[in-house]
Symmetry: C2
Subunit: 125 residues, 2 copies
Amino acid sequence: MTAIQQAYNVYEDRCPTRLVLDRLADKWALLILDRLEGGPVRFNHIRRDIKGISQKVLSQTLRKLERDGLISRSIFPTVPVTVEYALMPLGRTLTDTVSALAHWAEKNMDAIVAAQRAYDQTHAA
Amino acid sequence: MTAIQQAYNVYEDRCPTRLVLDRLADKWALLILDRLEGGPVRFNHIRRDIKGISQKVLSQTLRKLERDGLISRSIFPTVPVTVEYALMPLGRTLTDTVSALAHWAEKNMDAIVAAQRAYDQTHAA
DNA sequence: TCACCTGGTTTCCTCCTGGAAACCGGGCGG
DNA sequence: CCGCCCGGTTTCCAGGAGGAAACCAGGTGA
């Protein structure tokens, strides 16, 4: 029995923890959270940095994260208008784990690719 | 600049780390990895435990994880046949982080739900 | 007046995910 | 011979995610 099951059962359908986990299991959200770790960033800056994300998806994901209380959205009446996104305290408690996950991916990338190659060879048609 | 960017740039398109992150950003994969932490488990056992997962998706996800070298698949010629899935060493290095993520979700679930409610009220139509 | 900046929203359309349910094969048990 | 167990695969299908691109608003400068 894992630590999680002691209190709730994540494996249960409709468990609220699952909903949270669903939201976290989103590559764009993870990348954005990681990107915000260094301080507030503006919309188009994120968009330029995270290659391949569309305007729509960035906007949607940011709003989800804001709704969850993980990030804040601040509007400055500069010209042109500036909108800054920043980690909220709640979000900051999460980035350690997110970073760890990204870190793990970076560190074990080679092993995974090697495993995939080995698998593909032995399971070839 | 975050730790990740020092070596690779996860934000770059086609970065291999992104592919790994994509795979990890999958609620079913995370749940399965968490479920396997306690030791080897059989196919139908996982299926029964993780409520709501379909046979197809479970099968697909397990094969992906196996291909990535994260879990192993062992067949025992019992009657009826027994198939056990277990964490590989590589997968075990990951479960700490996955558990942390699941833990975080459990711990901060209430805060998130509260944030959502507050957001929905202030942004109501 | 027109163009252009930011920071979006909306529309359209396509592809992929994932659910439901049927089917399968080996190996017994009755 | 039929049925049932496990551990899948296959088929069909509906819904949603997400990309591309157009549109929009407020404000400024030429």
